[in-house]
């Protein structure tokens, strides 16, 4: 395999976009290319994610984006893996570049749902679960993760303040991220007084419905003569799946796909959790960050819940988690989320995250989950 780098990355501001998903995707792709020093004609393949493009009456968006970039002859395909779509796209780009099939590839994720009301958006999200066996029985996405939270609380002592601290930390980080949907800090009082959405999860445990787009440029080391930004060396690109329906899983105390993908990734990278400087993890709900930290191997099972409360996962803590604000506060434009995690790591490595810098940026890990863990990506990056 060839050594493969992330050489460019860009995101727009998450929240409510005026642009269509297609327009936003094309803009961030061009911005990512400019940050890489490569030109559109250098791209050999474009991997696009746009899970809910149908909500904009648009499918097959890859050729439209490539056409907008002036490279209509470049092949593209749409990668759908629910909330882990664009990290799945990154994996495909890695495979193509590391395997020598192309020298450079574009990974783009874009989503626009703000033109839908909450009911319609909730219903769109819910179809990424098992529709006949979960959604038809009353599950929503907050409901499914709330069910995990109930099981966790029934097994391990977890005070509401522990989940609240995750939300407070991630809002504080997002307040310093110009790309974030929510750019305001919250207090424990605000958290505790927010309404229950699906018990025990409150409003401030939940990520928002966000519009947004993010793009990443992947290239072979040997193809990049003089990078204009500090590249991320892709030390591991691992994917895993697990049983979609919670009822058939061995337990409800974590996501099996995260455990499997993490084991693969650390093996590929020849690294261990203690070697990682900071993380971007999939915190669609606060309980998801807790489960991720345990499933990835950074905390023993049942011990990650107090980490945010004790400051361990703060930007200046022992293990900074989600300096971008995470899905929880940066926002969660489904298909853009995986790519946007890499944007944050790229900006941290390049010293372009003013006000939210983490102390050490030699290694980082990105963790992105599809739905409730039917699929999962783990990528590990390091400096050259």
């Amino acid at each position: 395999m060839r050594e493969t780098w992330v050489v460019g990355a860009a995101s727009n501001r998450f929240g409510k976009m005026k642009d269509s998903g297609r327009e936003a995707a094309t803009r961030v792709a061009l911005a990512a290319l400019r940050s890489s020093g490569l030109a559109p004609k250098d791209i050999g393949y474009t991997f696009v994610s746009n899970c809910f493009g149908i909500a904009e009456h648009q499918a097959h968006v890859g050729p439209l984006i490539n056409g907008g970039l002036g490279i209509p002859d470049v092949p593209s395909c749409t990668i759908e893996s629910a909330c882990s779509s664009s990290s799945a796209g990154l994996h495909e780009a890695f495979v193509h570049v590391a395997g020598g099939f192309v020298d450079a590839a574009l990974v783009i994720g874009s989503e626009k749902l703000s033109h839908l009301d909450t009911l319609a958006a909730t219903s769109y999200f819910a179809i990424a679960a098992d529709y006949p066996f979960e959604t038809k029985n009353g599950a929503t996405f907050p409901g499914l993760y709330a069910t995990l939270a109930t099981a966790y609380q029934a097994t391990f002592p977890t005070r509401p303040e522990m989940l609240g601290a995750v939300a407070i930390k991630n809002h504080a980080n997002a307040a310093r991220n110009p790309h974030a949907h929510f750019q305001k800090e919250i207090t424990m009082g605000t958290y505790l007084h927010s309404p229950i959405i699906a018990s025990p999860l409150r409003l401030y445990d939940c990520c928002p419905f966000s519009d947004g787009a993010a793009a990443v440029v992947v290239a072979a080391k040997e193809f990049v003569k003089s990078p204009v930004s500090e590249p991320l060396v892709i030390r591991a690109s691992a994917r895993a799946g697990s049983i979609t329906e919670m009822q058939d899983r061995p337990d409800l105390l974590g996501l099996p796909a995260t455990r499997t993908a993490a084991a693969k990734a650390f093996r590929q990278a020849h690294l261990e959790p203690k070697d990682i400087d900071f993380l971007e993890v999939h915190d669609c709900f606060t309980i998801a960050e807790v489960l991720a930290l345990e499933d990835l191997g950074f905390f023993p099972q049942g011990t990650a819940a107090p980490a945010a409360l004790e400051g361990v996962t703060a930007r200046d803590g022992r293990l900074p988690v989600n300096p971008s604000g995470g899905l929880k506060a940066k926002g969660h434009p489904v298909s853009a989320t995986g790519a946007s995690q890499v944007v944050e790591i790229f900006e941290q490595f390049n010293g372009r995250a003013p006000g939210r810098e983490v102390p050490r940026t030699e290694t980082a890990l990105a963790h992105n989950v599809g739905a409730t863990g039917g699929s999962c990506s783990v990528h590990i990056f390091s400096r050259r």
Binding site: L119, S123, G138, A139, A149, I197, A198, E245, Q247
Partner: protein, 140 residues
Amino acid sequence: MDAEELPRAPHTVDDFLRAYEDGGPLRGFRCVRCGLVSATWGLACPRCGDTGRVEQELSPSGKVVSFTIQTVPGDEFLNDAPYAYVVVELDGGGRITGWMPAVRSVSDLEVGDRVRFHPSYKPGVQFVRDLPVDRPGSGG
């Protein structure tokens, strides 16, 4: 090999849904290799991958393994909120998910509570509290 020659699941997804509407019995499969009882559709065991599976009638009763009170529902449960979404371990094996109308607060349900399948006016698996009939005044 023609797809028609592959092992066939005795049930389609629609068969599961019709069983819920018809009031049961709840159907599932037991893996002949690992013993997992599953109440979801598939051609192989979701745990071990073996295609050797036998149909099994599932108990209508069991205990709540986990749950949430859904305050903000999706469109198909718009008129039912708040309600409980539950994961239930059925007596005799197999887990299934379902919903419980009129369970509106976390104080109304606990992990470990007994519930039983109850035919619903709408698609899906509806559970109600499984109250002992010989204990009048046991609440619920």
